[in-house]
Structures are given as C-alpha cells and as structure tokens.
C-alpha cells in the first residue's frame, strides 16, 4: 500500500511569557499504508502537539504552525480551508485521546456520540447510524453493545470507555488513526486487550496508526517504525526491530537502560542506570544539541552546533554528532 502521510519540516510554535516555545521543531515523518508508527518521548517532548498539528487542532493563539507541509493522501492539509479540514477530521483521520473520561461528552449517550460522526460523514439516517454504531461497538469487542449505546460515559468502566473512544475513531473507517497514549490510563490486563484490539483493527480495517506513548513496551508490542522525540525534535527514527536491538542515540540508549527489566535479576544492591538531570525547559534550550547536559558522550561540537537527522544505517536515522 502506498504512502499515507508525509510530513516535512513541520514546526509548531507557542507564544508564551517566556518567549517562543518550539514545541515541534522541524519534524519529518512518513507513514505508509497499514503501518503503525510509534512516537515515543517523555512529557513535554512535543509528541501530542505533533498529533494536534496533523489534526490542525493546535489551540491558536498561543499556538501556530509556522512552517512545513503535512501531505495526507497527496493533499497538503495545511492548505485546506476550515470547511475542507472538517471533512477530513473524523472521516479520513481520526484521533483517540488519552483520557477516556474527559474526552467523552458526559451528557450524551455513547450511541449518539458514535453516530454523530457517522451521520455527518456518511449521510446516514439516524436509525441506520445507530445500527452502524452498534456494529462498530461489536467490532471493538464491547460487551452487549445494544445496551451500551443507551448508556452514558459514567456508567462504563475505564476500559469500556476507551473501547467506545476507539469505536468512535474507527466508525468511518479512517485511513489514519492518531492514538495519543491510548492505554496510559488503563491497567495492564486492560492495556493488553486494547493493544490487541488496535493491532487487529489495523488488519481488519486497513487503517494506518500513529501511536503516541511514553511506554517503550507498548511501542515494542504494536509499532513497525519508531520516532524518538526529545525537546520538540526527532532524535532517532528507525524500524522497531533495529531500534530495540541496536539503538544509536545516547538518549534512546539511556531510556532503555533506565527501564527496570522483567527478566533481569535484582536485589537491594542492583541499581538502574540513569540519565542524569532532567529535560531542559523549552524556552531556554542550550546552543547546539539539546541533550548535551545529560549526555555521557558529549563533545565540543555538541555545545556549538545542532546535529542533523542523518541516515546512519539504511532506514535508521539519528540526530547525533557521534555518528558523523
């Protein structure tokens, strides 16, 4: 299947009292049909703003997409007017949000919320749309969908709400689904169900997925390609296989080492390797590479000039002077 999404030089900035924050800084990604691209990074790295930029939902002001192109299915989304963009949202590109409680409307029944997108985008009558909503709930493995369509969000558990959100996102069989931390608020056994469901839907509906998470484990289970983000930029980009077997960027290596392993032996004397310090504030980034103060391989050039995201091995790109 062909190319679904191609983002080039995308920058999204926010005007704040501290000055301009480059939440997304010159980002390039591609997603091919039927693939899952994982975007991984810690809080404040810009992964959610990247997703909101693709949906063109960046709150403005203070946010603004200052440059770049987001070519979806051959069309640059940044050149569409608002009416055209509304036809894309929820139909061709849909989004699953992190908090299933706050992103569902508490005063509308689940069925009405799912049927809304169906009536809007497919022009079905109310009763047909409701049947389609029930069908979609079946698809996402919701127990007794006929009852659930008449329920309000507070009557459902966290896992069921997330299934309802996913049902809403897949109801119009989108080409691309953006999932922003879809399992973070859930327990592990429910998380396993949801990851399983998303992998299955990708096969059944043929949707490509951008999966945003801070959890490298979730990425390993669900993504074919991975972009690692740090302070608004992509620092490493590769197939999931290569990233986990041979990570290149010191930040990626550090992240993987700082996760406690299920298999490793432990005890009161076993310590984790850590990345020292914390993420620098985005309004006060140092000259050169933004990871310099936490990096154990820091060189002179790192404090002077920012490296470029370059291909080190075929299909494996890294943003680091070590490999130049």
């Amino acid at each position: 299947m062909g190319r679904i999404l191609e983002i080039k030089n995308l920058s999204t900035h926010f005007e704040t009292e501290h000055g301009v924050i480059k939440a997304v800084d010159d980002v390039e990604i591609v997603v091919d049909g039927g693939d899952t691209l994982g975007i991984v990074g810690e809080s404040g790295c810009g992964k959610t703003v990247l997703a909101l930029s693709i949906m063109r939902l960046v709150p403005s002001p203070p946010g603004r997409i200052v440059s770049g192109s987001i070519v979806f299915n051959g069309v640059d989304l940044l050149r569409l007017d608002n009416a055209e963009m509304r036809k894309v949202r929820g139909k061709d590109i849909s989004m699953i949000f992190q908090e299933p409680m706050t992103s569902l409307n508490p005063v509308l029944r689940i069925g009405d919320q799912i049927a809304e997108a169906i009536t809007l985008h497919q022009g079905l009558a109310a009763s047909e749309a409701m049947n389609s909503a029930i069908e979609t709930l079946h698809l996402v493995g919701m127990p007794s969908p006929e009852t659930v369509v008449r329920s309000y969000p507070h009557q459902l558990s966290g896992g069921m709400r997330q299934r309802a959100m996913i049902a809403m996102a897949v109801s119009c069989k989108p080409r691309l689904m953006l999932a922003d931390e879809p399992t973070t608020a859930l327990d592990v056994t429910i998380q396993a169900q949801i990851i399983d469901l998303m992998n299955r839907l990708k096969e059944d509906v043929g949707t490509s997925i951008i999966l945003i998470t801070h959890d490298l484990g979730v990425i390993a289970e669900a993504a074919q390609y991975v972009a690692v983000m740090y302070t608004g930029g992509i620092v490493e980009y590769s197939s999931a296989e290569n990233l986990f077997s041979a990570p290149l960027h010191p930040y990626t290596v550090g992240l993987m080492e700082s996760i406690p392993k299920m298999s490793a032996s432990r005890g009161q004397n076993v310590y984790l390797k850590v990345i020292p310090g914390g993420v620098p504030p985005l309004y006060n980034l140092p000259e050169g590479c933004s990871f310099q103060d936490r990096c154990s391989h820091v060189m002179k050039i790192c404090r002077v000039e920012e490296p470029l995201l370059k291909e080190k091995n075929p299909g494996h790109k890294v943003h680091c002077w070590l490999y130049d």
Partner: protein, 335 residues
C-alpha cells in the same frame, strides 16, 4: 533466610468495608469490600511489593497500616503491639515510626509552603529537634535526597516533578522511621526520572535500614525493587512469594495473566500472551466463590461455590487457588 528475620508488621484477618448508598434517596445500603480478609507479615528490613490493578484495595491496605483508616475487622500488630489500640501519646509515637510517600508529587505538597518548611514540619510536630538543629537536620536530608540547601526556600511550583517527589521522600524519611509505605511513588514520573527515584529509594533503605511496603501496579518496577511480592485481587491476597520465585513460577492464573500482559521490550523474545477477558468485577456485587472465577480460563465446578484459601505451596510461596489445592490435595480437596 526469611524465617530468621523478625516480623515488623503482622496483619491478621484485616477487613475494610466502605458503605455505599444504592441511590441517593434509597434506604438500602450496600458495601464495597476494599480489603477483605488480608493476613500478611512485613519483615524487618525487607521490601515487600504489593501489586494489583486499580480498585483492588492495595492503597486502602497501605492506609490501614498508616492508621489513616479504621478497620471493619482484623488487627495489625507493629512490633507485637496492636496499632488500633493506640491512642494519644502512643499513637503519636507510632506515627513517627511509619511514614508514607504519595503517588502524585503535585497534589501531595502544600503549594504555599517552601520545600524546607515542608520537610521540617514532621520534626516540628514531633518536637524531636529545635531551631538551629532542625534547620541542619533538614539540610542533611535534602543533601541525602539530592536537593541543595539553596532550594530550601523555594516553593513546589519552582521544582520539576522528579524534584518534588524528592521533597516528598525527604519529608517521609526526616524522622528516620522504621517503615515506609511507598504508594505508587514513581507512577507519575517520566521514565528517565523514575530510574533516578528508584535508585534513591534503594540508597535511603541502606542509610536508614528502612522497611518498605512498595505499592504499585507496575510489574517491572516491583520486580526491580522487592524481596517478596504479594499479588492483590479484589481485596484479597491471591499470591505471595519471593520475587524470583513469583516471576519464575507464578501459580495463580491471575498472576500469570498479569505477568504475561506486561509489554516486553526484549526484541525477538515474544511470549505467549494470556489476554484476560472482561474486567474487574463490580465491588458492590461481587461474584461468589473465588473472585477471579469469571475471568479465569481454568475454572472448575468448585470455583464459583467456595473461596480458596491462601495455602502454603512450599518455601514461603502462598497461592489462593483451587487448582493448586486439587494438585496437592489441600484445601477443599483434602481426602
């Protein structure tokens, strides 16, 4: 050896039921059984991991040990004394020995208090030091947890999440307690910060000879931190074993499913996943028999009729499961 160690906390048949109203006008009342018959000991100097999913009662158990809740039934003995018999001065003495670290470093600090004042407050309350000494005690602890003296005058909003958690930890250890209840201490933190805090907790354990009850839903964190691990489901301990033993030889079907559900980052090492059907049962209307039977793929006839006991399966490995009883001829399967 575990048997050689002294028992610090001994929990016996502990229950905590919370009343719920069926409707806001209804007279009918029912109960949520948050902790339902837990017996467990915490040994001096160990880290006991307590894992379970949300709503399983693990935090309530922690709060009962802190004596922030009064039990419906059962007892907790701390160094042989019943903590629910404490009052007045004895209770205050107990509070000095047991401290808690909370999950959320944002909401568990008073925004109008400087870091130094927050950390020094327990010393003030318990009148263990005065004036100048107190300031020095605060500085010494701040140094131990990786904060600087200059930061004593700063307020919570001036710190990052990881630093705030260090303040919360400093407040918990400043009285040199014996037991610390760590209730999801790293769940709100980013991965790279989480590792720093876990290492700090290990350092402090050595420094102060602390005992930890480490409450978490994260199975890789508990694997890294604990000597023994208790698995909680629906208000009950369903399995208890030494760390290595639990991960290599889990007996309870719930523990097995839980372990297999953890996403794995080891490439080329795909495990057989056990995907549990359904969700935690409704706590107001619990299933009869074993609380896990509606989700269990090995259920037998007896499972919805009788609740299995937490029986010893050898070498300090306990599991509450009829399947194990059947294999060994114990519990309801005694000839």
């Amino acid at each position: 050896m575990i048997n050689m160690k002294t028992v610090l906390v001994d929990i016996q048949g502990l229950k905590k039921y919370f009343p719920v109203h069926a409707g806001f006008l209804s007279e009918r009342r029912s109960e949520v059984k948050a902790v339902d018959g837990v017996s467990l000991s915490i040994l001096k100097g160990e880290t006991l991991g307590l894992v379970g999913e949300s709503g399983c009662g693990k935090s309530t158990l922690g709060r009962l040990i802190m004596r922030l809740e009064e039990p419906t039934a059962g007892q907790i003995f701390f160094e042989g004394e019943n903590i629910f018999a404490y009052s007045g001065r004895a209770l205050k003495e107990y509070r000095k020995k047991v401290q808690i670290i909370f999950q959320d470093p944002y909401s568990s600090l008073n925004p109008r208090r400087s870091a130094g004042s927050t950390i020094g407050e327990p010393l003030l309350v318990h009148k263990t030091t005065n004036g100048r000494n107190r300031e020095e005690a605060v500085w010494r602890i701040m140094d131990l947890v990786g904060l600087t003296r200059e930061q004593a005058g700063r307020y919570p909003h001036e710190f990052s999440g990881g630093q705030r958690q260090r303040i919360g930890i400093a407040r918990a250890v400043v009285l040199a307690p014996q037991l610390i209840i760590a209730d999801e201490p790293v769940s709100a933190l980013d991965v790279s910060i989480q590792a720093q805090i876990l290492n700090l907790l290990k350092d402090l354990q050595k420094e102060f000879e602390l005992t930890y009850l480490f409450i978490t839903h994260d199975l890789s964190v508990v694997r890294h931190m604990s000597d023994r691990i208790a698995v909680m489901y629906f208000g009950r301990i369903v399995e208890l074993a030494k760390n290595e033993e639990l991960y290599n030889n889990p007996l309870h079907p719930y523990t097995r499913a839980l372990l297999s559900a953890v996403p794995n980052t080891d490439p080329g090492k795909k495990r057989q996943r056990i995907i549990l059907r359904g969700e935690l049962p409704n706590p107001v209307n619990p299933p009869g028999g074993c609380p896990f039977h509606p989700r269990c793929s090995f259920r037998m006839d007896i499972c919805d009729k009788a609740e299995p006991k937490l029986n010893d399966r050898g070498e300090g490995h306990f599991a509450a499961c009829h399947m194990e009883d059947k294999k060994k001829g114990t519990g309801y399967f005694i000839e």
